[in-house]
Symmetry: C2
Subunit: 199 residues, 2 copies
DNA sequence: ACCTGAACACCGTTCAAGT
DNA sequence: ACCTGAACACCGTTCAAGT
């Protein structure tokens, strides 16, 4: 078996494989939007008109399927991060991007817990995934703000991304979630600005 | 059927019912400690030596079983909150208690997501549960710090508890979780102190 | 090389039959 | 009043048989 990664399967020469891949990604996008990132894989295969084995062949883990369904959005976020390098204040740029990241993490219900948590905010194994670029983009923005002395330097970028992702997770817990995301982010940004000693 | 709530079943007069209740709680505590709050309910019933129907009779939802297994710890946390009313600085008292809350939320893997999130940090339906007292204790400590002008007042206590619980959740995401809990809490506390306008 | 779908293991939940 | 355990529905995952 050659194509172990979704990327390889996507580049397959066989038209039926390529077609199944696309159908699965489209079906997954619908199912995740309806039922959250824990949507039934059987149901996704059924929607796509393929057997469950075909789904597993293309996407060995649920995370791979989620990542594929999110690919366009992830690339857009990376692009936005590149554009924000030109902004005057590093901490302002960081705030804008973290806000967009929270929105991304709440694209599907359960997403913050499913995918982002592991691939965005841990040191390990995020290397091969499409979210590696997202993680790198976030870390660059954090580093820039830290080197400018605008946010505290006694915490690493990974942990900051994890905390911000936790805000996205928390916003799923309350019926009026979106209203609090902004305030939570504001509190964390203020806390990052305050420095280790406090105000 | 009379005893719908765990509390009612606990007070049952029949000795076999009472014994099964106790066995289930003990088995649940072990299983949750081993496999997290998503441990198999079938396995818990097996450990307790009862049929799955008996488990459901005593604990209609997984949350009821978790709450029962945590009852002693919850009461201890409430007791600690009462003691902290005597401390000089309201914000210092709040910090101490929130630290203990995070520790509580990480008693079992997945606990922050399972139980606390809904029963501690949402406006709705937490009334009847044993966690209602926990929620009330936390809100009192927050209010006291707000009224003393030590933390910002532009966010309600429920949302603050949700954010702090999110820290507990986040600490499960990294292998070196405990190390970052303290720093995350410090950032949030600094952000709460900073006030709406920033430093 | 890829697809299919039956098969397996596991789990949550219900309920008729017991005592 | 409570317990039991079989039964059902559903799901993730694997794999032998196909093309």
């Amino acid at each position: 078996v050659e194509p172990r990664t979704p990327a390889a399967a996507r580049r397959s020469t066989r038209s039926d494989a390529r077609r199944n891949y696309d159908r699965l990604v489209a079906a997954a996008g619908e199912a995740f939007a309806e039922h959250g990132s824990q949507a039934s894989l059987d149901d996704i295969a059924r929607r796509a008109g393929v057997g469950p084995g075909t789904l597993y062949r293309h996407f060995p883990a649920r995370e791979d399927l989620i990542a594929a369904a999110l690919q366009d959005r992830v690339e857009a976020l990376c692009e936005q991060a590149r554009g924000l390098r030109d902004i005057e204040s590093p901490v302002a740029a960081l705030g804008i991007w973290l806000r967009a990241l929270i929105e991304h993490s709440t694209t599907y219900r359960g997403l913050a817990a499913s995918l982002i948590a592991r691939q965005l905010a841990t040191q390990a194994d995020a290397t091969a995934s499409s979210h590696a670029a997202l993680r790198a983009a976030g870390m660059a923005l954090v580093s820039r703000a830290q080197q400018a002395g605008q946010i505290r330097a006694d915490i690493d970028a990974t942990a900051i991304l994890r905390l911000v992702n936790a805000i996205a997770w928390a916003s799923e817990q309350s019926p009026d979630g979106p209203d609090y995301r902004e305030r939570h982010l504001q509190i964390v940004l203020d806390g990052l600005r305050a420095g280790p000693a406090g105000p």
